[in-house]
């Protein structure tokens, strides 16, 4: 058993035989060609053929991976037609009297070199596109036809790297997984693998290719990014178990996708998704969530080396709102503290960060940071149905200050002539016992409550949930927590406000019935749990 590790770009597990992908290696030789016009004619023919092939690949990609991902092949066609590229080839053929293959190869290398020497990783990756089209033209010149692989069995394709056209050209039904020595998670191949739902591992390193051979049995784990050659029985059993779980999920998906979240006696509830970054939207849509109940905006700050600008935030919020096509999107304002360190915030060390200057406290302490985020949110609001949620509220005045700041931001935008939506919902997290206990006072000021059960449990039971030694004292179903939830829902409804749960308990299906009896309006869970909760809701009868 040998393990190689890279980066998993699509979570799924494959077990099967290895097939090492080798290109019909076209060796290009410099040959003297006296008849330049004949070479130019051959070039023209080959380019025509290459464009036709790409047209077919474009059509195939359009069906399999969608327009946005297929566009690259349209761009390849345009690259073949590029004036400068053709001029350089023609000049070599006419000026140096060389064969077309050689002229294309050298020109391709020169253009690829231009891209790879640029100081921008996106442009550097375009060198692969230039090489891809040049190789295609050369293959057409030597009449080799399209680069193709003949596979009889379902296999795990291992390659140094795959050009996007190679990825799409493979017969999807015969590919169990892709494993490449190089590549980045932004490469077209990674993106295509995700779209095609094929497990893929990239960046395994060059040495693995020389140590594997066709027919080796392997497990490719797209979750962990591991390729295990010659796996033992235990590893195979674990992989099979994972596959069975995935299959079950898929089946649930087929059965429940598009169905309503409705109990047997006809009560409806919203099931939304919690996400950490804009990259998870695909999974929200795939799992058929009715909206986003909690978008944690922290990642914008955590992945950055300086305060994210209004423009940067605006773009991310806009993208999330647009992607959700009018469905409710609740964005939680910044929730960091001394326990989630962001270096440039230069937060002072605290004895007790869970009880320290965090979340909305930090925002109110540094209103300039808060203002930037609120401006970005308000500006983005015109692109969908936005809810803004403030975390860690304990006092009424904190909420009043938040609302006042929102008013200031609106006035600023009005003065600048910048549009924002009139239908933004404002809400708060109920995650401290204090907030739950004064929820009757807080409710008149908001449109919704979202109960964060993780912190609420922690603060109510005075237990650190990460501390294994207090685990048996930290009963997540504790009556005190349940009472606070019930009280919150009751007070919300008294004031015409909706109430949801966005903590981990929302996905605990042993509590779904209890929550529905309390009258909860929304449950927001991580995307893979949406359908599981839907399944639970659809089997509950509140009349019983």
């Amino acid at each position: 058993m040998t393990r190689y590790s890279g980066k998993g770009v699509f979570g799924a597990v494959a077990i099967g035989k290895i097939s090492v992908f080798t290109r019909s290696d076209v060796k290009v030789k410099r040959v003297k060609a006296d008849d330049a016009s004949a070479e130019l004619m051959r070039l023209k023919e080959a380019e025509k053929k290459a464009r036709e092939q790409l047209g077919r690949i474009y059509e195939k990609a359009l069906k399999e991976v969608g327009e946005a991902n297929a566009q690259i092949f349209d761009i390849h066609i345009m690259m073949i037609e590029d004036e400068d590229y053709n001029e350089a080839i023609t000049e070599m053929i006419c000026g140096q009297g060389v064969n077309a293959e050689y002229a294309v190869a050298v020109t391709g290398d020169n253009f690829a070199e231009m891209f790879s020497s640029m100081d921008d990783s996106y442009m550097q990756a375009r060198a692969a596109d230039v090489k891809d089209i040049s190789n295609r033209i050369i293959a057409c010149l030597s009449d080799k036809g399209a680069v193709s692989v003949n596979i009889d069995d379902k296999v795990i394709i291992c390659a140094d790297d795959l050009a996007p056209s190679e990825t799409v050209s493979l017969d999807k039904d015969k590919v169990l997984a892709f494993v490449t020595a190089y590549g980045s998670s932004n490469s077209h191949t990674a993106i295509l693998a995700r779209t095609m739902n094929i497990p893929a591992i990239i960046g395994v390193g060059a040495e693995f290719l020389s140590q594997i051979k066709n027919g080796d049995i392997a497990v490719a784990d797209g979750y962990s990014g591991e390729l295990i050659i010659d796996p033992d029985a235990e590893t195979i059993a674990a992989a099979e178990k994972r596959q069975a779980e995935d299959a079950e999920k898929k089946q649930l998906l087929r059965k429940l996708k598009g169905k309503e979240n409705i109990t047997l006696d006809g009560k409806r509830v919203n099931i939304y998704a919690n996400i950490e970054s804009a990259d998870s939207i695909g999974s929200v849509i795939l799992n058929d969530a009715g909206g986003i109940g909690l978008f944690r905006s922290e990642f914008l700050y955590l992945e950055s080396t300086d305060y994210p600008t209004e423009e940067k935030q605006f773009k991310v919020y806009k993208r999330v709102l647009e992607s959700m096509g009018g469905k409710r999107v609740i964005i939680r304002t910044l929730d960091v503290g001394a326990d989630k360190q962001v270096p440039y915030f230069k937060l002072e060390r605290e004895e007790n960060p869970a009880l320290g200057l965090r979340a909305v406290r930090l925002c109110l302490d540094r209103p300039d940071i808060f203002r930037t985020q609120l401006r970005a949110l308000y500006r983005a609001s015109v692109y969908g149905s936005l809810g803004i949620m403030f975390p860690m509220i304990t006092n009424l005045w904190e909420l009043e200050e938040c609302i006042e700041l929102c008013g200031k931001v609106k006035a600023e935008l009005d003065a600048d002539g910048i549009a924002y939506s009139d239908n933004i919902e404002l809400g708060i997290m109920i995650e401290t016992p204090a907030a739950a206990l004064i929820s009757d006072k807080l409710a008149p000021l908001v449109d919704f409550f979202s109960i964060g059960t993780n912190d609420l449990t922690q603060y109510t039971l005075a237990c650190d949930r990460q501390n294994p030694r207090t685990e048996r004292f930290c009963d997540t179903h504790h009556e005190a927590v349940m009472k606070l939830i019930e009280m919150t829902v009751e007070n919300a409804h008294k004031h015409g406000v909706w109430a949801g749960i966005c903590g981990e308990l929302a996905a605990d299906t042993s509590l779904t019935e209890k929550f529905l009896r309390m009258g909860i309006d929304e449950l927001s869970v991580s995307p893979p749990f949406v359908l599981k909760v839907r399944d639970a809701v659809r089997n509950i009868d509140l009349n019983k």
Binding site: I72, M78, D82, M114, Y122, R126
Partner: protein, 85 residues
């Protein structure tokens, strides 16, 4: 000769997709469209040359239309930049 200045808003700069669309759009026009940045100038119909300029988000470029229907072209290209870049 008509021209306008534009600051790129797309986070990837003038990347392959808009550069491709731009080349297509420009080829349908009678006038010649050039993009200028820091003294370097390229014909907007040349996909690889445009990409090779490495124009990034936040860069300001000068776009010029010359000849034929320059009045109409410059307006069209300005709209294209607003919509795609």
């Amino acid at each position: 000769m008509k021209s306008f200045e534009y600051t790129i808003k797309d986070s990837l700069g003038i990347h392959a997709r808009p550069a491709g669309l731009l080349a297509k759009t420009v080829k349908a026009l009678d006038s010649e469209i050039t993009i200028k940045k820091d003294g370097k100038e390229v014909n907007a119909s040349k996909l690889m040359a445009v990409m090779g300029m490495g124009i990034k988000c936040g860069d300001t470029v000068t776009v010029t239309a010359e000849g034929g229907d320059e009045e109409k072209s410059v307006k069209l290209i300005e709209e294209f930049f607003e919509a795609n870049l």
